[in-house]
Symmetry: C2
Subunit: 129 residues, 2 copies
């Protein structure tokens, strides 16, 4: 099987043991864009923390701010809302934010789990030298 295929294909995997859980089926381009922008929204430490706080339950903005700039937090929430990750509802003076969907909490939980297992290998020489 190591005999090269000799047509103009650039390369062929030799003996790959894919860990590939593999994706359900080929998803649409739009789904990819959505997914990427969800990830982008979650790819910021302060926003992620915000989401984690909301995972514990509904909160109002000034509660979430806790010493940080109110305006800053508001903008973060706006972004998260634009991505459909959080919902808000008004109650009198206050506006309460919550995760729009348990799916979001799942994503975070998943990533944290993964983060725990892989202790961030910053530029290793080679994985299999």
């Amino acid at each position: 099987m190591k005999t090269s295929p000799s047509h103009d294909l650039t390369c062929t995997p030799g003996d790959p043991e894919h860990p590939a859980a593999s994706l359900p089926r080929a998803p649409s381009a739009a789904a990819f864009e959505r997914a990427a922008s969800i990830f982008r929204a979650m790819g910021d430490l302060s926003r992620l923390r915000l989401l984690a706080l909301l995972a514990a339950g509904e909160r109002c903005v000034s509660d979430l701010a806790e010493g940080e700039g109110l305006s800053t937090v508001s903008q973060r929430l706006r972004l998260l809302r634009a991505e459909g990750l959080v919902r808000r509802r008004r109650q009198g003076k206050h506006i309460f934010y919550a995760l729009s969907d348990a799916h979001v909490a799942e994503l975070i939980a998943n990533a944290l789990e993964h983060a725990d297992e892989a202790p961030h290998a910053h530029d290793p020489e080679e994985d299999e030298p």
Copy 2:
């Protein structure tokens, strides 16, 4: 439960039905940073596509490039590798990349699933007016 704690807390939720699947337990600050940078790495359309390709199995770089700049792809892979999302192995002239962990494919699958359900509500007036 709804009796307010009465210290200087700014606001208390009225009748929140948290969708909160809620996180397993309070995770470490380091775990949050890791998770955020994983999300950040996945929060780019081209990188996400790369990962999705790899979810289907091992591939070499020039195979992944497919008309795109080789250097560009290489840099994307470098970033993903620095985040521990992909692994590489050398076989003769070629270098094969694969997902480092089935966990990654799970994350992508999860997000794509969520992306399918929520059709991206760009700035709605109010969620509950």
